[in-house]
């Protein structure tokens, strides 16, 4: 089945130690998104790619970076994780066709713990 896969499901890292979360999709969708969701909060969009075009939200900290080497894969790099970065990180995809709105397909998420 076509789907959005996130690895790992659970990640523990130390304060200040760089960490990378990965997302892959078999849907061949143009758009890939990274969201941060803290407990009882709305998912917060960090950035998204339309094909290779990177779009950063204005309030996304510089500590967060992303790479999309090809259509299928997208990575979230946290350069120096702080305690406040502990959260669920959700990857999503969307066909992203112009002048249409399409639902986003979400992966299961990666829960990041910072010690």
């Amino acid at each position: 089945d076509a789907m959005v896969i996130q690895n790992p499901r659970y990640q523990v890292t130390q304060f200040g130690k760089p960490v990378t979360l990965s997302c892959s999709q078999t849907l061949n969708h143009n758009v890939m998104y990274w969201y941060q969701q803290k407990s009882s909060q709305a998912p917060k969009l960090l950035f998204h790619y339309y094909d290779k075009d990177f779009n950063n939200e204005a309030d996304t900290p510089d500590n967060f970076q992303s790479r999309r080497p090809n259509t299928s894969f997208c990575f979230l790099d946290i350069r120096s994780p702080g305690l406040g970065d502990a959260a669920m990180y959700l990857c999503a995809t969307s066909p992203g066709q112009a002048y249409s709105s399409y639902e986003q397909y979400f992966g299961p998420g990666t829960r990041l713990t910072v010690t």
Binding site: Q41, A42, L45, L90, Y99, S101, Q104, P108, G109
Partner: protein, 114 residues
């Protein structure tokens, strides 16, 4: 302030009872999406509404869009324990030309008591 407000924040119902969750936007809605999230997992797409007055149903879940009121409601009939989870609304509130960015509400946590 939150651009999408959901009410109630949490809801506990007896199995078999009906319930309604509301999502109100502070901006014009160009598309409204309902998702369900189980604790610690990703979001599962339920329904998409795009036109004022539109109503969609899937099994025992019905969603309506009131474009003039910038509001959507999600109604569950004869709730079951399998309906338990967090329901989030997401909306395209960025432009009328069709956008692929969604803004989400904080969610409504539903518990169903057997």
């Amino acid at each position: 302030s939150q651009e999408l407000e959901q009410s109630p924040q949490s809801l506990i119902v007896q199995e078999g009872k009906n319930l309604t969750i509301n999502c109100t936007s502070s901006k014009t809605l160009y598309g409204l999406y309902w998702y369900k999230q189980k604790y610690g997992e990703g979001l599962i797409f339920l329904m998409m509404l795009q036109k004022g007055g539109e109503e969609k149903s899937h099994e025992k879940i019905t969603a309506k869009l009131d474009e003039k009121k910038q509001q959507s409601s999600l109604h569950i009939t004869a709730s079951q324990p399998s309906h338990a989870g967090i329901y989030l609304c997401g909306a395209d509130i960025t432009s009328g030309a069709g956008s692929y960015q969604l803004t989400f509400g904080k969610g409504t946590k539903l518990s169903v008591i057997p």
